[in-house]
């Protein structure tokens, strides 16, 4: 089956099994290896991407369901050569990343969250991270970095409509 969708702003056309998990296409065919396949069961969050602006696990998303959708991966958020997303910049500044395995997923979940919840409290930030497991950093520093990011954006008056991806 032919599936077409937008991948990081560009047209993408695939011809293959419509039940292939999106994560496998990203990693094996498009070499977008920022998205990690860890548990493949929806529990760890390492494979999170945005589909039509919503953060969802790509391990459980058959490509047949992304026909006509816009998919953004961590590489689409910032290539690394350009300015980082404010949340990435805060993670870097807070030295919140250790092995980094969980981080692309963490950033994809939380970038959508800060966009939609500019006034989020600490418990709300924690609730948003329930599906993102980190085995290294300990979550408090990540929560601190998200809270700082929201704080800075509020002070800079950026958040009238949220932080934009």
């Amino acid at each position: 089956m032919v599936v077409t969708f937008q991948l990081n702003g560009e047209d993408c056309r695939l011809d293959g099994d419509p039940m292939t998990p999106l994560v496998d296409i990203l990693r094996q065919e498009r070499f977008l290896t920022g998205t990690k396949a860890v548990c493949r069961e929806g529990f760890c969050g390492a494979c999170m991407v945005h589909v039509d602006d919503e953060a969802v696990p790509s391990c459980l998303k058959p490509i047949g369901l992304v026909q006509g959708c816009a998919v953004t991966t961590i590489e689409g958020l910032s290539s690394g050569n350009q300015a980082l997303h404010p949340l990435q910049a805060n993670f870097e500044a807070a030295d919140a990343v250790q092995c980094g395995m969980c981080f692309p997923g963490m950033v994809m979940s939380l970038s959508a969250f800060v966009r939609d919840n500019p006034h989020a409290s600490r418990p709300e930030i924690k609730a948003a991270m329930v599906g993102n497991i980190c085995r290294c950093t300990g979550y408090e520093r990540i929560v601190d970095a998200v809270a700082d990011c929201l704080d800075q954006a509020r002070k800079a008056g950026q958040l009238a409509g949220g932080i934009h991806v």
Partner: protein, 285 residues
């Protein structure tokens, strides 16, 4: 799937189209969060699937003064948003917003939660049992309405020839609550679930999920409570009745043994009654 065979994938745009594909042997695909894990359970993915996400009628929640209709392809997240703040549906909202994790809730549908056969820990099942929901099916013979209890009991047989299209709820509850016990907060399946509701006649309804293979009403406890005064909505007293009328056979499973699931019910009921009492609807007590 046999080598060289191409999988068939239909994104139906009407219920009729979905049913036609179903008639030809396609399996229903909703959010995919259950089905996509079939290979990990040693089950092959179906050779033909029919997806429901492009059928507008199945993706909306209609909230009317006296009833609510939920499309089967509505996600947990969308259900929570649609009913948040609606008196009487506090429990259903808590179930939709507390199950799994945020990423799964954005994808997993109401229909998928009720139709995942052999999934005992579905949060929406006990929450809809206390709403006394009616399940609407499209079968090969036409539409059919069924009480949620009967649907859950018979779904293995029913779903061989049907698609769940909508869930109908009366707005006859004044308060409800949903208490779940996962071993950790990080998206684990709940070990036991207790849903409670009080209707306009001040009758208490209680349902239990994840303890037995299929969620069911706790009729023995409901009857014991009905036999007492209205002030029986006292957390400690109800927990004592729950202990006395605990007629559940706990199932052994990966997260917990059966005896444990059964044993945690009275304290969960106690928490549930306390949650009910904190809602505006039961301020009369």
């Amino acid at each position: 799937m046999a080598p060289g065979v191409e999988r068939s994938f239909t994104a139906a745009s009407t219920i009729e189209e979905a049913l036609a594909a179903r008639r030809q042997g396609a399996s229903v695909l909703a959010g995919g969060t259950w089905m996509m894990r079939d290979p990990r359970r040693g089950v092959d993915l179906p050779e033909a699937v029919v997806a429901l996400h492009r059928i507008p009628a199945l993706s909306k929640v209609e909230v009317e003064p006296d009833h609510v209709v939920i499309g089967a392809a509505v996600t947990h997240a969308a259900l929570g948003r649609a009913l948040r703040g609606s008196a009487g549906f506090e429990g259903l909202v808590a179930a939709a917003e507390g199950a799994a994790n945020p990423g799964i809730r954005r994808v997993a549908t109401v229909g998928g939660n009720l139709c995942a056969l052999d999934f005992a820990a579905a949060d929406l099942a006990p929450a809809l049992l206390v709403c006394e929901a009616t399940v609407e099916l499209q079968t090969f013979e036409g539409p059919r309405l069924l009480g949620i209890s009967d649907f859950l009991k018979d779904r293995h047989a029913l779903l061989t020839e049907a698609i769940v299209t909508r869930i109908h709820l009366r707005r006859d509850l004044i308060a409800s609550a949903h208490i779940r016990l996962p071993l950790r907060q990080a998206g684990d399946y709940p070990v036991a679930i207790v849903s409670l509701a009080v209707d306009r006649n001040k009758r208490c309804r209680i349902a239990v999920g994840s303890v037995e293979p299929v969620a069911r009403r706790w009729t023995a406890l409901e009857q014991a409570m009905a036999a007492g005064p209205a002030s029986a909505l006292d957390p400690q007293r109800v927990a004592e009745l729950a202990l006395e009328h605990n007629d559940f056979q706990g199932r052994d499973g990966k997260e917990a043994d059966g005896w444990y699931r059964r044993q945690v019910l009275p304290p969960l009921v106690k928490r549930g009654v306390a949650a009910l009492l904190s809602t505006e609807g039961v301020a009369w007590l």
